[in-house]
């Protein structure tokens, strides 16, 4: 009945879930990090497009919790569990965290890519979710697509062939 693939798109500072055969993608990751968390057996996956590392950076009263690594990832895990994923079975794959411009300034905000990667690794570790593969850092943008039926993450970069991790 439902064997056509739908591609669920995740925007900046957003997150969403899919179940096989659907796939989930996010486009144009720069310093942002795309965090995929999935249960390989239940074939359910979630993707979060993290913009900033830490919600302590928020200078707003009602900030968007999907924007920060430390708030978005726990929400994503929670949603996955409600969708039938099992906590102990969860795995992660991550991509992004590039530094797009070679800034000479040493201001913290300018090395946000590296900080995003660290923050994502930390929150995944706190939740005991292993990162099985990752394609992070560098200075290029990435578009990523995860297929929960194969547990593979497809990565596209400008002027490069697509590859899977």
């Amino acid at each position: 009945m439902n064997d056509t693939k739908t591609i669920v798109k995740v925007g900046i500072a957003d997150l969403n879930l899919v179940t096989a055969p659907d796939i989930i993608r996010t486009s144009g990751l720069g310093s942002c990090v795309g965090v995929v968390i999935y249960d390989p057996t239940k074939k359910v996956a979630g993707l979060s497009h993290v913009l900033l590392p830490d919600s302590k950076l928020a200078k707003q009263a009602n900030f968007n919790t999907y924007k920060f690594a430390d708030t978005a990832v726990p929400i994503l895990i929670d949603k996955l569990l409600k969708r039938g994923a099992r906590k102990y079975a969860l795995k992660a794959k991550i991509a992004g965290g590039a530094q797009m411009f070679n800034f000479t300034s040493t201001s913290d905000i300018m090395r946000i890519g590296a900080r995003n990667i660290e923050a994502v690794q930390l929150v995944l570790k706190e939740n005991q979710i292993p990162i099985l593969s990752s394609d992070v850092a560098g200075n290029v943008g990435r578009t990523i697509e995860f297929d929960p039926s194969t547990s593979m993450l497809k990565i596209r970069k400008v002027n490069k062939d697509e590859f899977y991790i």
Binding site: A13, G30, I109, G141, T143
Partner: protein, 210 residues
């Protein structure tokens, strides 16, 4: 100050700023390529992050972007954005090399990229000088930073400071284009940081509540 609550007078003021800046930039661009350069009426848009990417063809679109950080009394980011084809056309004109392509060997790329940075420097410099003269506010552009990559990846850099205080960005967008149908258009995106907006309005004689 909340972007969403800008009055129409405030938006008009920002549009005028874009007008003056890009008018000046179009003149310098015109001198560089020895062609008439037209400018469209600037638009002031208050957009979510995803909408911002859609303004120039979506997050995956490959763009050539030069980023300048504005320092001084007003903080923000200026992008001068060209499509890949437009940047190539522009470089061909400047370095007189008709078969130039970004995909070619690296040696000519290096020269092309420094030519492009110089163009960006001149054009954006005149954009900011005009703003600074008009508002009497000190604005200094950083050196140009060039990136040729996906729009989403390149443009989020300008959102990092803003995204800590707002889920929206204010974009003063001005498009310049040459009239000979050779496809050179450039977009200026000016993204002022929210805290410095009242200063900008004050300089323009607009009273703000905050």
């Amino acid at each position: 100050m909340k972007y969403e609550s800008l009055s129409s007078i405030e938006k008009d003021a920002l549009r005028e700023i874009g007008n003056i800046g890009a008018g000046n930039a179009a003149t310098s661009m015109s001198k560089l390529v020895n062609k008439k350069i037209d400018m469209q009426v600037p638009s002031v848009k208050i957009v979510g992050y995803d909408e911002m990417m859609e303004l120039i063809g979506g997050p995956e679109e490959t763009i050539v972007a030069m980023l300048f950080q504005i320092k001084g009394d007003v903080l923000g980011t200026v992008y001068f954005i060209l499509s890949l084809e437009e940047a190539e056309a522009l470089i061909k004109k400047i370095i007189n090399e008709d078969d130039f392509s970004f995909l070619n060997d690296e040696e000519s790329n290096e020269m092309a990229i420094s030519a492009l940075q110089e163009i960006g420097n001149i054009v954006t410099g005149s954009y900011l000088t005009a703003l600074s003269d008009f508002t009497n506010i000190n604005m200094q552009p950083s050196v140009p930073y060039l990136s040729i990559d996906m729009a989403g990846a390149v443009l989020t850099v300008g959102l990092l400071e803003i995204s800590q205080v707002s889920d929206y960005a204010i974009i003063i967008d001005t498009r310049i284009s040459s009239d000979l149908g050779d496809g050179i258009h450039g977009n200026f995106f000016l993204l002022p940081e929210p805290e410095t907006l009242p200063k900008l309005f004050h300089a323009l004689g607009i009273k703000t509540d905050e």
